[in-house]
């Protein structure tokens, strides 16, 4: 086995294979970077929506909770297939990269929404109270 392995190694690490793999790696980086950026923006928005207390925004809060819970509980592969077929059948002619990006974005934003919410939750009650106590004065003086 090792002899065959050694014999095939130079061919495997040939110029075109390396270029091919490097390009694929760039696609991976692009997918994760764009997905993480857009996902953190939307995830942050979702976390902020979940912190609101206004009765008027209650439906929006429920929708946010529902969407984050759903997309955190569907495997990536199934999300990808769903996104792919929904886009295909709705008639948008999108590249595979975009399809994958939408799936990454959906998953990233729901996971990040929970992570960011946990971050907000970790701010101690006293600190919120202190901020609330200070804020009006600062707002008036400026």
């Amino acid at each position: 086995m090792w002899q065959r392995f050694a014999a095939e190694l130079p061919e495997f690490f040939g110029y075109y294979n390396l270029i091919f793999l490097a390009k694929a790696a760039l696609t991976t980086i692009a997918l994760s970077a764009i997905g993480a950026l857009t996902g953190s923006v939307v995830g942050f928005a979702a976390a902020v929506v979940r912190m609101t207390r206004a009765p008027l925004l209650a439906p929006l809060r429920w929708l946010t909770v529902l969407l984050t819970e759903i997309f955190r509980r569907i495997p990536f592969l199934v999300t990808l297939m769903l996104v792919f077929f929904v886009f295909q059948l709705s008639g948008f002619d999108l590249s595979m990269f975009t399809v994958a990006l939408v799936a990454v974005f959906l998953i990233a934003s729901s996971y990040l929404a929970e992570i960011i919410r946990a971050g907000f939750d970790s701010v101690h009650r006293n600190q919120w109270d202190a901020a609330a106590a200070r804020l009006p004065r600062r707002a008036f003086s400026e």
Binding site: I74, P75, F76, L77, M81, F85
Partner: protein, 224 residues
């Protein structure tokens, strides 16, 4: 474009899919138990081991957390036969997921073990607890309470991770969804039903684990 959703063709497959969901849970459970064994050994090595064993565990963790699980299972399933080791797709997925879980769990478990504070042990000693009583009444309750929520979280994540088994032809939930899609060509219906089943199954698992954690370990766990 006019595509009308027709769930009628897909409903008869619901029992097949539900049985597939049980297989997903089974794979996740077996891999989780195996990962827990590796994780305990790894956590013990990280906490009590010498420099050499710590380095081995760290290398293992870095290697397995920084490569995708899919690639690891690909290696087990497609590369090992070249070396004469033939694994069935189920076993390859199971071993791959176990090894992968074994890389994530040591750090979680170590954090749980080390969350027992010195003060607690000293207090137990002052109160005249024997070593066995300390473990039984101080260390284990504390560790269980701290460790249970992240472990159940990891189990849910692993249940979702089992969908990768479909790529290797294992007939779990996603694998069956692929097959049914190939038979009926009702892609959106099949995959939305599959997604709904995943949501239901993981939600049920979360609820059961949260209940167990609250009742048995007084862990702080919530559903949503």
């Amino acid at each position: 474009m006019s595509y009308t959703l027709q769930f009628g063709q897909v409903w008869p497959y619901l029992p097949t899919l539900a049985a597939g969901a049980l297989i997903s849970l089974e794979i996740a459970f077996l891999a989780f138990c195996g990962g827990l064994l590796i994780g305990t050994a790894g956590a013990a090595a990280l906490s009590f081991g010498g420099a050499a064993s710590r380095r081995i565990v760290r290398t293992y963790v870095v290697f397995f957390t920084n490569t995708p699980q899919l690639v690891q299972i690909y290696f087990l399933y497609f590369a090992l036969p070249d070396a004469g080791i033939l694994l069935s797709s189920f076993n390859a997925v199971l071993i791959g997921m176990t090894l992968n879980a074994g890389a994530y769990l040591p750090e979680i478990q170590r954090a749980g073990f080390e969350s027992v504070r010195r003060n607690e042990l000293e207090a137990a000693e002052v109160l005249g607890f024997s070593r066995r009583q300390q473990i039984r009444y101080v260390i284990l309750p504390h560790v269980a309470r701290v460790l249970f929520p992240p472990l159940s979280n990891q189990y849910i994540l692993m249940t979702l991770g089992t969908s990768m088994a479909a790529i290797f032809g294992v007939e779990e939930l996603t694998g069956r969804a692929f097959n049914i899609n190939a038979q009926t060509f009702r892609a959106i219906e099949v995959f939305s039903l599959t997604a709904a089943l995943y949501v239901i199954v993981t939600f049920a698992a979360t609820a059961a684990l949260a209940l167990l954690g609250r009742v048995a370990f007084r862990a702080k766990m919530r559903l949503v």
